[in-house]
Symmetry: none
């Protein structure tokens, strides 16, 4: 649970200690505010105010709003992906176990926290800020995709999963988790649309279903077709 920042604490914290903690405090405030309002709508000044400093101070630490956002992304997503990749590299148990671990860790540390809101921002504003689009692709999308798709391929290679199309399966695997994260920070955060729901329950249901469907065993053959025979509409994801 993201702990609230303590109030300014006028004299308690000596200058020196404050200064070292500043970037952290600013990043935390920025994460919160970006998630609440989005990148464009979040005002730098409010980020600063929430971290208990003035506008000018924010700019001492981060040269622009865009760089501030990048720092938020790095702090909250990059580390986790790197850890996941390390785990995957040395893991030698069954692949579905690896997948479960990766996805659960993601949910616990990202999806269910404020960091999950970053995806809302990306989804919402990537088209308006090409610089951020590129950054996100390089810093998050590519490594994360390599991690999950790589794990699926490992599973297929080891005969644990059927030979499914990897890109599509990757998306099907993570879509509900991302969607839940998105939801929590948008409609789910609105009084108007509030509707209590157990996110973890949804996720577990989803995971159970999908991992089950991926399994190599020929159980109930034909019941699950990887590729539907329907009309080939050209609905390609750009």
């Amino acid at each position: 649970m993201p702990t609230r920042l303590p109030p300014p604490e006028p004299a308690a914290a000596p200058r020196r200690r404050r200064k070292e903690a500043r970037p952290q405090e600013l990043l935390q405030a920025a994460l919160e505010l970006f998630v609440e309002k989005g990148f464009a709508a979040a005002r730098s000044e409010e980020v600063a105010a929430r971290a208990g400093v003035s506008k000018g101070t924010l700019y001492r630490y981060f040269p622009s709003k865009a760089e501030l956002f990048k720092a938020v992304v790095r702090q909250n997503l990059s580390a986790l992906i790197a850890e996941g990749q390390q785990l995957a590299d040395r893991f030698d148990g069954p692949s579905d176990e690896l997948l479960r671990r990766l996805l659960r860790a993601w949910w616990l540390r990202v999806g269910s926290t404020a960091a999950g809101g970053i995806f809302k921002i990306i989804v919402a504003e990537v088209r308006n800020f090409p610089e951020l689009a590129q950054f996100y692709a390089d810093e998050v999308q590519v490594p994360a995709d390599r991690l999950i798709a790589g794990t699926l391929q490992r599973a297929i290679r080891r005969g644990e999963f059927r030979a499914v199309p990897v890109a599509e399966a990757t998306l099907a695997l993570i879509a509900p988790m991302l969607f839940l994260a998105l939801h929590r920070h948008s409609v789910g955060a609105c009084p108007a649309a509030a509707k209590g729901m157990d996110a973890l329950a949804v996720l577990e249901t989803h995971l159970a279903l999908v991992l089950d469907g991926l399994r190599a065993a020929p159980a109930r053959a034909g019941a699950v077709r990887t590729r539907a025979p329907g009309p080939r509409t050209p609905a390609r994801i750009a």
Copy 2:
């Protein structure tokens, strides 16, 4: 079917027709632009320009940007939901067939078209525009939920589906579709992150897996647990 706006002076269409077609053209232009840029970032003037009229004219038809957006939502989502509800009300075949029809229609007419971008806008900006949040909840969320959740309940009542928690299952059912729609209009539209993928393939895979998992039959009992026994983290969707 969404057609491109004609260039400023289409000799074919006499002035009379243009005038009557105005609202349509404005709505179409607004849909496109809102989806491209988002609600806040789309400029009224550009909407007007894209519809071939002036800013002032736009305001003659819609009293504010917010009302324009509402009209876009009504035109593109409300009608489909109503149709779906009508279908559900008089349908008496198997429930999974009904669900397939509803979801396929949604994909064909919303998810795979510009209208699907409305969800991106909602996800991104509800929190910044409470008025829109309320409107969306009333106009889309509640009726759509009633339609899908109602169908699930019908299926359970008729013994076609197992007794799953309806709210969670509804979400798990629609999440990947919404997610794909979102994706198409955000990361998927960015050159930086372009990655060809067959959306329909993802959807069919997903539908097959999930509907399969929902079925009442005791097939491979235990393989799919509706509720995971793991630690009950309080990760409730707000």
Copy 3:
């Protein structure tokens, strides 16, 4: 003498007429303010206010402060240079007469008016705004130099002037005029340093001296050496 703009004149001028006069009024206000404060220090809002409109209106007509400045330069300098070039092209009297006409016209229409202040701005800020530097070089410096240097060469070709180094002579010719223009808008405009002086007297003195010195006749040979024999310090103008 630059006539002051009339006060806003609330109802007298109909919307339409105002609109057509706007760019002119804005350019006039911009010229005045740029000359008073310099490019960087002049505030867009004050330019607008001086033209009797609001900040936003200024930006309807000129997309940025830099473009506004360019428009001011074009209006006040480019036209005169072009006229001068035309005169030179069809002039067939004695070259010193041509030079006198060119320089007097410059003084009357630029040097002695607010437009002369543009040189102050260029001198002061060209290094801080490379975009303006390039613009000025292309739009003013090169054509003006061609005009004057060309005239000197014509004079030399026709045997009217001695074979002086053209570039240096061009500078020596215009330096005092530019300097006077500069002076009028800087130190000369300060109460602290006010010192009445007859600009035209200075100029005529200068012209007389220099044109006299340039003449081809061998009068008092040696009295005026084009190039001093002193130690060749490498004091080259960059």
Copy 4:
């Protein structure tokens, strides 16, 4: 002699010397930066950085940016003027020789060095900083004018020069030199407008011409009129 600042840690200079040299280094850095960017646009922090100290230290030595600038002016201009005045006071050779010495010294020690850039600053920014205007008038303009005008009067009194209007002649005398100094630090420093030219050649040409014209001898009477008989336009230098 202006030497480049040493890099941050010059082993050769012990801490002691550094400390004593501080004001010098700061003044040198300030001169360079003021000349490059102008008074308003030069950032205090960059001055400090260029002198190898921190912002705070700069403020320890000079209480404000304006005072720093004044110190730069005093160091670079006042001394030379005082020297010139001393020379003039005890000089008893021909006046044109005195003038040549004064102007050449000025060019060698000011016009051709970074100090010459101070005039660019004055020209550009006096109007925006009345405090500096007053300071400059008192500290530079008045004494310098007294020196040159005094010398002219001496020459006239001694019958060496004709009875020219002193103020105008003073200006005509120094204008090209100032102009060249200005030029070197503005347009001349811009790659866009670079045009090699021999500054000293221009100056010598000018000096030769003007001193020649001033001479008392009735040489070629009428060729050089001190005051043109043309229409008396009221083009007075403010």
